[in-house]
Amino acid sequence: MDSVAVHSNVAENDQDMWEGGKTPFKASYGKLMMWYFLVSDAFTFAGFLIAYGTLKFSVPTWPLPDFVFSSLPGGITHAPLIFVTIMTFVLIASSVTMVRAVQEGHRENKNGVVFWMGMTILGGAAFLGCQAWEWTTLIGGENMTVTTNPFGSHVIDGVYLDDPHGHPYEASIQPESFHAGETYLIHKDHETDKWIQRRYQTSEGQVGVQEFGPKAFGALFFFITGFHGFHVFSGVLFLLIIMVNAASGIYAARKNGYEMVEKIGLYWHFVDLVWVFVFLAYYLL
């Protein structure tokens, strides 16, 4: 009995030591490896965002985000960037509740950890809900897909020859004009299921038809926000598992200041960190 007790005691001390007999950077193995995983993940996301920037640089026009992302739930359509700002708040708030959970872990306060992790999970779920709504609007309402981008942009000033329903303007009506750089959305006729590409005349006298926007915009939007959303989704799952574990008292028994909560916390803050740059690249610039 005595020898077993001594042995387990040694093993407990050993847990803090790596094979070299020291803890590199005074960090536990799990925490350090979480940091290095996040480094690799940061490069993955950076690759996607740099690809986005490169393709944006390679074409003459790109859809304006304050035109594309201007819908709010409840049928409001002219509220540029408001919904995505709310999404950002939700994610920031969930990051803050995560910090609280880690702090309560350091105090070995089980109930506090469980409560604040629960709040973080709610925040993550709310963010996913917002994203689901955003995707539904873009796919179902505005017909953007991975291969079709109905958000095009004008290169020079001009006036439309067709009204928004695709019929030529009557002589008595003042036709709608547009400026260079303005983004438009090509609608679909609900009855015939055909695209309504309005004809226009530029200030230089050329007659043209509304062209579709660069495909890469839609493809990369769904890919990048989807990849980020999947990170949020798996983060919510991990948070759930660790919250249940914390509630069961398994981490309290380890007496290491709820290190597992700290590790998932690092991951969760990283998801928020990536969103800072997705927000910058896709919605602001």
């Binding site: 950077f25 960090a27 350090l32 740099i50 803050v96 350091h106 803050h269």
Partner: protein, 140 residues
């Protein structure tokens, strides 16, 4: 962690929440104001807007990493192994964006060359001499 510590920690967290919220609102304000959504006809040049928005985002990233992820309290070696590799991305951004710009340039060149070809074929020869028949493609 004592009672004082936890009160201090709570304060830091609350400050962080307010700070990040204000920066986000500021970023969106710059985007909306700069694109002429707030005051009709008033716009900001991109070279003013973009550095401001990028700077604010980088500050947000710094705050999340150093305060929320506790990078501030880690050893310098850990900080370096995580953060220094990110400097590679600076070159990636410069190199790839330059490349993208070149693609655009090449496309324009090709478009111009195509245009020249079309005009050359499509333009009918001017009827210079009256009465005389003009033979297209019979140039000297």
């Amino acid at each position: 962690m004592g009672n004082n510590d936890i009160n201090h920690a709570k304060k830091v967290v609350f400050k962080g929440l307010i700070l990040l919220a204000i920066i986000t609102v500021l970023e969106v304000f710059i985007a909306l104001f700069g694109n002429g959504h707030l005051i009709e006809g008033v716009r900001l040049a991109k070279w003013i807007m973009y550095p401001m928005m990028i700077g604010l985002s980088l500050y947000k990233a710094y705050f999340i990493i150093y305060e929320f992820m506790h990078m501030k309290y880690e050893m310098q070696g850990l900080r370096f192994t995580v953060l220094l590799p990110m400097l590679l991305l600076v070159w990636a951004v410069i190199a790839f964006f330059n490349e993208g710009n070149n693609w655009k340039h090449n496309r324009q060149v090709i478009q111009q060359k195509n245009q020249i070809g079309i005009e050359h074929i499509a333009t009918p020869p001017a009827p210079a001499n009256h009465g005389e028949e003009v033979h297209p493609g019979n140039e000297h």
